[in-house]
Subunit: 772 residues, 2 copies
């Protein structure tokens, strides 16, 4: 755990330069706009430890799988997000010496991520080997107003000497992925072009043949005066640079404005990619840096309007929750139903930038509440578009008749992962995808979604579960053998309670959904079921499984069993584990982890979270009291579920304690892995801890309900929620809860079990005596 980020309500601040922290900071200070993103690499040369990262959404490469021992059904390729052309580069020479913070003496280094306005600022003074000192300040952003544009303002001031400053802004496509399995480079050049102060580089990915054109235009100013410099073109392998020299008087600031664009063939025809990039550059240049930055600030202000959480009395918590919200919106804006949320977003290569069940289980609730309905709908449509591949994927594993198994890890719908115990057996992901449909409709009331997209997906998923269970003669019940639950510290277990319960729930919900569609849109229903070759017997088969499914439980303790045989394990508690043996995934061999009772992340409890209405509070309490002490939370996705359940059990102290475990996960580099990138999807879990945990927000019977408490350390917290056309400002203080309805939509709101009317543009307050 590190503790070098300065607390501030709206800014992430690093002061002083420590090369050992640089890769961590590169992750934390990452920029993105949903369409492209990048790590906080330096513009100028840096020969120290760095992980160069520029990413373009939807552009991936199927890297050849590396395995020790091949198993039937493994995917041959692992689609991974590509490190794309570096467009931020500006080579700087001061009196012919390269500016390189790994070689200079660095003073007054400061890095600030301004979350309110959406830009990254960096300033420092460098004393070069030649004894010369320069002050540098850079400002950079990826525009969310125009998500193909990025902009840099980079200023250099020679201190107390007249400097010859050599400048070469460049675009470098000769990059590779650090995690390339066979050290391959993934890009080929299509074209390069330099005209005057503009440079363009068009690249094509190997195998997938995506094309990305990166362009930039350069202006150099002294104060407000455009120097209108001439540039020497520099062509190298997959590299275009503009070289120039400028003389700066002592203490005079020279400023380079670099405006860049990244256009991908996912959004433009390949043949006009270069022309369209030129047009985007021309447009950006016409606006200029300051206007672009104003647009950026305005766009972010709008996002914050819809999604901000204000915490009073705890600057560190305030900073953390805004950081989480900020990074989630940098990663996914919901404009494109072909895109999704990689666990590291645009902040690193790890996990290949691919889609996991994290999206459905953790991110959908966040986007449902904080962004327009289309945003979460597009996340759902993403899976609908990939239904065909999910059916193919299931067929590879021996399933048939339209059964769909969504991949564990995917970029384009094909499975990318190759550990059999995950790829083939962690099938509960299929249930999370169905649950997200349910959750979306519960939140939005948009039942039309079922007609157009949802039912088809639900039938494919239900068909999978139907084939995946088998009848046990021994138990005279249906069982599900050989699965891995959300707790990945168990592999290939029989009757994982969570997966069993999820499977029958999916069949129930698919049946209900079919009924809804049949009622609301009979013609579409008939046509869909016909196209799916659906037989009514399938409903009967599902009903039989629903009626006769086996769920492991221990009657004596009144708990559900994570899986068959769980009570055969030596029952040790996490509190009795020596600190020297934690985290167990770094200290113990895999077999030892597997046969221990320790739980990586919520498993039975994840099921109780999803389906809380089906269980009384005492059942929840017994299971929580049993499983929580056995959970090591070695997944960043775990504590939020425990936090929400603890809140529900009125254990406010522990709800807050679990929240703390992820709130500053990356800001404080809790797990020593922030350098690989940020834990984007778990950030949604932190948001859930606050809104579903502390505020106890639920949607039940089409109504928003709250069951709030105020964490002891806080003076108040407030958040904004969009719900069925209303924008609600919810404020929770020691005195009670206040909800302001900022639109003219009438609502009914539940608070602590009591239903209140909340008219359009009205406000409601329930004070604490009534609450407790």
């Amino acid at each position: 755990m590190k503790n070098y980020i300065k607390a501030d309500e709206w800014n992430i601040i690093e002061e002083g330069f420590d090369p050992h922290l640089n890769k961590i900071s590169e992750s934390i200070f990452s920029l993105g706009n949903g369409r492209m993103g990048q790590r906080a690499n330096f513009e100028e040369t840096y020969s120290g430890e760095t992980l160069l990262g520029n990413y373009v959404a939807g552009v991936y490469y199927p890297d050849k799988t590396r395995v020790g021992w091949w198993k039937n059904g493994y995917p041959e390729y692992f689609a991974k997000v590509l490190n794309a052309a570096n467009w931020i580069g500006i080579e700087v020479k001061i009196d012919h010496e390269l500016l390189d913070l790994a070689k200079a003496e660095v003073k007054d280094f400061k890095r600030v991520l301004n979350m309110h306005e959406g830009y990254l600022e960096r300033s420092f003074t460098a004393v070069l080997a030649n004894g010369k000192s320069v002050a540098v300040k850079s400002t950079r952003f990826c525009s969310i107003a125009n998500d193909e544009v990025g902009a840099i303002r980079y200023s250099i001031t020679p201190l107390n000497f007249d400097a010859e400053i050599g400048l070469m802004p460049f675009i470098d496509g000769d990059v590779k992925n650090q995690d390339s399995n066979y050290d391959e480079k993934f890009w080929d050049k299509v074209s390069d072009e330099i005209i005057g102060n503009e440079a363009y580089l068009q690249l094509r990915t190997k195998k997938t043949a995506f094309e990305v054109c990166t362009g930039s235009t350069i202006e150099v100013y002294q104060g407000a005066e455009n120097l209108n410099l001439k540039f020497e073109p520099v062509y190298r392998d997959k590299f275009v640079g503009l070289s120039t020299m400028v003389t700066a008087k002592a203490n005079t600031e020279i400023t380079i404005i670099k405006l860049a664009a990244n256009l991908s063939s996912e959004n433009h025809p390949k043949e006009s990619l270069l022309q369209e990039t030129k047009a985007v550059i021309a447009n950006a240049a016409a606006k200029g840096f300051d206007t672009l930055l104003q647009e950026q600030a305005a766009a972010w202000a709008h996002k914050w309007e819809e999604s901000d959480i204000v915490i009073e009395g705890d600057v560190s918590a305030q900073q953390a929750i805004r950081f989480n919200i900020y990074q989630l919106f940098q990663t996914y804006t919901g404009k494109d139903d072909r895109l999704n949320i990689g666990p590291k977003g645009f902040t690193g290569e790890k996990y290949g930038g691919s889609t996991y069940w994290d999206t459905e289980a953790y991110c959908v609730p966040f986007y449902l509440a904080t962004a327009p309905q289309e945003v979460s709908k597009n996340l759902l449509i993403y899976r609908h578009k990939q239904l065909g591949k999910a059916i193919e994927n299931a067929a590879k594993l021996g399933f048939k008749d339209g059964a769909a198994l969504y991949p564990m890890v995917t970029m384009n719908g094909e499975e990318c992962h190759n550990e059999w115990e995950i790829t083939f057996e962690e099938i509960h992901r299929n249930g999370a995808i169905a649950f997200a449909i349910f959750n979306y409709i519960r939140y939005t009331g948009d039942e039309d979604y079922l007609i157009q997209y949802g039912l088809e997906v639900l039938i494919g998923i239900a068909r999978f579960w139907k084939q995946r269970v088998n009848w046990s003669n021994d138990k005279q019940q249906y069982v599900m053998l050989g699965v891995t639950g959300p707790n990945e510290y168990e592999n290939n277990v029989n009757n994982n309670w969570y997966t069993n319960i999820l499977a029958t729930w999916c069949m129930k919900y698919a049946t209900e959904a079919a009924e809804i569609v049949k009622t609301k849109a009979n013609a579409e229903y008939d046509s869909l079921l016909k196209s799916l070759n659906f037989k009514d017997q399938e409903f009967a088969d599902w009903a039989d499984i629903i009626a006769k499914m086996y769920y492991p439980a221990d009657a004596e303790q009144g708990i559900f069993l994570q899986q068959d045989g769980y009570l055969d394990k030596e029952q040790v508690l996490v509190k009795d584990l020596p600190a020297s043996e934690r985290p167990i995934n770094q200290k113990w061999s895999w077999d030892r982890i597997l046969r221990s009772c320790f739980i990586k992340q919520a498993d039975v409890l994840q099921g109780l979270y999803f389906f809380e209405e089906d269980y009384d509070l005492e059942t929840l309490r017994r299971n929580f009291d049993f499983y929580e002490p056995r959970t090591v939370h070695e997944s960043s996705l775990s504590p939020c579920v425990h936090s929400i359940l603890a809140a529900k059990l009125n254990d406010e102290a522990r709800a807050y304690e679990f929240y703390l475990r992820t709130a500053r996960l990356d800001l404080d580099d809790y797990n020593n892995d922030t350098e690989d990138g940020l834990h984007i999807t778990s950030m949604a879990g932190t948001w859930m801890s606050v809104v579903e945990g502390f505020a106890g927000m639920r949607v039940r019977d089409g109504k928003l309900q709250f069951n709030p408490f105020l964490p002891g350390k806080w003076k108040s917290f407030a958040f904004t929620i969009g719900f069925r056309g209303a924008t609600l400002k919810v404020n929770i203080t020691e005195h009670g809860i206040n909800i302001k309805n900022n639109n003219d939509v009438d609502l009914e709101i539940g608070i602590k079990g009591q239903i209140y009317k909340l008219a359009g543009n009205a406000e409601i307050g329930v004070s604490n005596p009534e609450l407790v």
Copy 2:
């Protein structure tokens, strides 16, 4: 399945050249002498499909492990047997055209492996592109009389034309392993030297720094006349050649004698390796090819004296059983306790030439009966020498206090395998190593072995099991969680019956062995236990586990359960599997295999085979009748156990049927994988089917016992067994059994439960009426 090998009692014969079969034949016609070995590659150039393979025992390379996802505890390196310098090469040019069977027209091709005398012969006529025809005949062997020597006689006859024959015999060390994980070459040159007709190449392995010096000497004859040719030396990268030209009149035979030596730093000091290689070459040259071949024939005759099985009435079976015995003795001669038996011996790269539990479970019984006692003793000592590494290996997985876990796959005692479900969990291998000690002592009566070596190993193993079980509060018994049994079509199961029974057996046997050592050698006992820091409490702990171990069983059916939950599986029988879905390991994805009831190889039945005395025949029958129909036998090690048990259950027809499944596994390329190398260890299983199955041989109470039957297709079968100083010729015909004692050792022999005295050099016959 192929069927191109001609039936013959003593020879393996291929007639006609089919390039598509060449890699299969390269495996089948392999040569070896326990110290070195090679695939049946051609001496002359061959540009067609070939897997070049020359191997030197004990010389391995730790190839960097390749995995998809790293797990704690995985070994970083996978030791693999190296493809070593090719010493057989003779480049031949006929009137300047390269002789290459991939480019010439090949006629009258014949390849013969003479198993009786231990050499490989090959003859053919080649019509070259230039229209010239030559007849070629080569004879080659790896001497078992001097196991550092190999010899080739290679004759060329130009047919109907006077030929200019260019000859370049060479040693080529610029070779690589086809299975190299990162396409590395594994050898560096130490020295090369050519003097007159001798060439030497000394190589060193990267990382491990083994050195091997390969030398050769060349003579060229016309008829009986030594042409005393001069050679041009040819030096290339890790390559030495001797080039010459000879003119041969039409129909005159030119013969090259190439005598070679391979000396390894495992057996000679590195600094004198070259000198000693020269001495070996000089000695071989002094003897000459014919004398070396005579020695070879005599040595093989001696081996056959001790180990032959004669089958009358079935040439194909006769050929097969001799092939199996022959290949086993080519692989392992028992001279060196640092060597062991790789699953492919010297016939291919696959499985890395490493040691598996195959040795203890399958090979030890074969060598016990067919070779001097030292041979199997050395196989046991091999594991004793590696005890320290087994303790280190266990420590890596969290075990302590001297607990030993032998590796699943090893070359030098370190674990080489990296599938967690095998490496970490297929721990029953540890039991097989203890069982082999028991089996060796049961067979030989050599209890001194316990004192010197055995007890120390047994204690290490028992300590492992003690720590590996845990107390189940639920069951109020000890359980063993998270294992993989011999049936690798189940992973990470709880309470594998075989492993549980083996574990307690190991603790029982270690306790008994301690008692024996204490009684026979009290001082050594005290000193050993002190050095092991052994506490008497450990015996008590073992006894508690022995008393309270849980063994899964189904009372209703009266069977042991392969593991917890086995009866939850859909119970389908192999006979109901469509042929199109077999073998399931090629047709099904891994998860489907895992959750099916299908069994790869004997598992419960392996336990009943090891511990048959503990179970009555009805128990055996019930388990056999339950498990056999669920067994797909997709391991070559499976059918032999089923054959022996079927024989015990008097099901002669099925005993024979199971035997047939492996008897000609490689000769008929049953599994389409012979091209990778031969299934050496499963060959011992075939021998067991005949001797333990058909002849019903056991050792009980220190006496050999037989319970024979004659397979219906056979007229008779006879085999030779060494037992406690006696050499017994056992002959089984339709009339009964006859045993001849060829030494002057008096024995008692059991036949069908009746004990007979068999005096030295006497004979005993029990005729069939009495047998049945």
